[in-house]
């Protein structure tokens, strides 16, 4: 047995845009244990529910994260609608699904770029983010914002998308397929990229289940686990089936996300073909009854959990948001055990960590 050394990793590190800390216990160049530490920038946003009315709180919840802000807003609205027994119009459900899948596309493209940057492929990083820009342009055109949209509200959505813009979105995302195919070929076929990803950070199906991994992390280890199967939005009408890989390594996690980008394009096009005419919201008035509701949504990074508890008042008694990164930390620690020290940044990236979400 070699001499054991503890290397502190983070909270400030070139590969981490946000602060998280790991104590890496290493023997020679191999990590034998990793002890995570978070909470450097905990904001306590859930606590604001005591000071913001339920209609205002959606703006706070959207600000949990700049990447999956729409999904957080949607999860919050679903949980409050559940407590209040509100049924939203079908068109609003379609619009929410379209914006959510666009968010998944932009999140996965952002991640692919960061991964490419992580293994030193700068031009690939730039191409991923160049393509992602088209999705951000759609957001700007349809919502007015590129990061925070504020289109989701309790009872439906605030903005409609007209027929011509829907057709344009359909044609833009369809047109992205060719460029994405070229990118996907580099990520999945280039031997130097495969060298960095194949067999690295293996997480078995049993470990993924035992450590309760979520999202692409779980699906890359063969678990058929995707909250889009629960029936929120209109996924059941779009014939949705989750993308599953079985290799359980970093390459499989990359492949799941690439397949999901193409899948999101197909879901968006199908939703645009099927979207019905009609209202986009229903009026919601009065206090939130003393009731509780749990909602789970599939964010780009995995399952997010929302719990709302009403108190017969305009203010909720409790709003809980459990984000996917929170849940994937134990699985990340597991994949780090036994890896080379040089692969640590890559492995941390493959769970697509969002510390902003974790420090909600």
């Amino acid at each position: 047995m070699g001499k054991r050394t503890i290397i502190p990793f983070g909270p400030q590190h070139p590969v981490l845009p946000e602060p998280v800390h790991l104590d890496l216990v290493i023997e020679d160049e191999t990590v034998v244990e990793a002890i995570p530490s978070i909470g450097f920038i905990h904001r306590g946003l859930e606590k604001l529910v005591e000071k913001k009315e339920y209609t205002e709180m959606v703006y706070v919840i959207e600000r949990i994260c700049g990447i999956c802000s729409f999904g957080h807003g949607w999860g919050y609205c679903l949980s409050v609608e559940g407590v209040m027994g509100v049924e939203i119009p079908e068109r609003a459900n379609y619009l929410r699904t379209i914006w959510h899948e666009l968010s998944r596309m932009h999140s996965h493209l952002l991640w692919l770029g960061l991964l490419a940057d992580g293994f030193g492929f700068e031009s690939l990083f730039m191409h991923c983010w160049r393509i992602r820009e088209k999705v951000l342009d759609i957001f700007e055109k349809t919502t007015g914002g590129r990061v925070i949209f504020s289109v989701c509200k309790v009872g439906g959505v605030r903005k409609d998308i007209d027929e011509a813009t829907l057709k344009e979105i359909s044609s833009v995302v369809d047109g992205m397929k060719k460029e994405l195919k070229e990118l996907a070929d580099v990520f999945l076929e280039d031997y130097s990229v495969k060298n960095r990803l194949c067999g690295v950070g293996y997480l078995s199906k049993e470990d993924a289940a035992e450590l309760a991994a979520v999202g692409p992390m779980a699906r890359a280890s063969g678990l058929k686990q995707d909250m889009r199967l629960l029936g929120h939005g209109v996924y059941d009408k779009l014939g949705f089936e989750p993308c599953i890989e079985t290799a359980g390594d970093s390459y499989a996690r990359c492949k799941v996300r690439i397949r999901e980008v193409f899948q999101s394009i197909d879901l968006i096009i199908k939703a645009i073909e099927m979207i019905p005419d009609g209202d986009i919201s229903v009026p919601v008035k009065g206090n939130v009854p003393a009731n509780e509701c749990v909602v789970r949504l599939e964010q780009p990074r995995g399952e997010a959990f929302y719990y709302a508890k009403g108190a017969d008042s305009k203010f909720l008694e409790r709003m809980r948001v459990r984000t996917p990164t929170n849940q994937n930390i134990p699985a990340m620690v597991k994949t780090l055990q036994g890896c080379d020290l040089a692969d640590v940044p890559m492995l941390i990236l493959t769970i697509d960590p969002c510390i902003s979400c974790t420090e909600r």
Binding site: G39, A212, L230, V295, Y307, R322
Partner: protein, 117 residues
Amino acid sequence: MEDLRETVIIPVTASELYSKVSDLNEDGYRLVQACCTKVSEGFEIIYSFDKEHELLNLKLTIPEEEEIMSITGITWSAFIYENEMQDLFGVKFKHMSLNYGGHFFKVSQPTPWNPKN
């Protein structure tokens, strides 16, 4: 097919919690989350478990001073949530397999979400 979006909450007592979680774990359920709410009786803790997209929530209400058994011995990933509840609310756990002793979250005052503090 039953509605997978339905909220199912089952009340449990502190003495039942460990065996209930143990049974769920043996049945193949995974821990989804655990969270605490400050209520007039003390703390209300909800443990959520999932099996094939079916969600089950266990609700435990305990007085503030009561120490409850950690479930990290059954499902290790619970350390994230138990440390969070310990740091933000001051919930006391026995036999945590990974205890940060109040330093998991770097908060400027102890248990900031417990109104007494």
